[in-house]
Symmetry: none
Subunit: 83 residues, 2 copies
DNA sequence: CTTTATTTGTCCGTATGTATG
DNA sequence: ACATACATACGGACAAATAAA
């Protein structure tokens, strides 16, 4: 089971973990990150899972298709110079 | 493809379209309105199509014959006085 | 009679949206 | 943060009835 630190919102800590998995490629583009999967893995309420997903969506790391799921966004064209 | 508005159930919007076709005579009495036809035309799930049909049936605009289909109801005897 | 196609009936599962306590 | 409930929506599968070939 995941160990939460006190004094920091759980949804932030969950978002941190997922963010890392996205940025490291553990979760490739289009990978489904459902609320239920977060509920089960982290032992949290769906309410909390939704907050984590919302945060990542607002960061652009996830996009949500209503009634279908939330998925890892395609890589953004960052760093223009590097060729 | 049909354009759905957000903030309103799809099954309601589909029902609206069919209702208009019935009331305008585009779909005459006994015209078949099958779930599959709605699925294909509107690009929705059958689940959603069934909800639209159910709504129109409850309004009396359609009647369903099990395993045969849902058909446009005969015109209702409105306006009593007119003879 | 058999086969094929069509259509509704029913059930399961997954997932988000929304609201309440 | 949690728990619960319901609505909305999609996908798939199978059964049963009907009609037509």
């Amino acid at each position: 089971m995941f160990e939460f630190e006190p004094d920091r919102p759980r949804w932030q800590q969950v978002a941190d973990v997922i963010r890392e998995r996205i940025q490291s490629g553990t979760y490739p583009p289009k990978h489904l990150v459902s609320e239920l999967s977060l509920v089960q893995e982290f032992g949290i309420a769906r309410d909390t899972a939704r907050k984590a997903v919302r945060a990542l969506r607002e960061e652009g790391l996830l996009y949500t298709v209503p009634h279908m799921g939330s998925f890892v966004s395609p890589p953004s064209e960052a760093q223009p110079a590097a060729e």
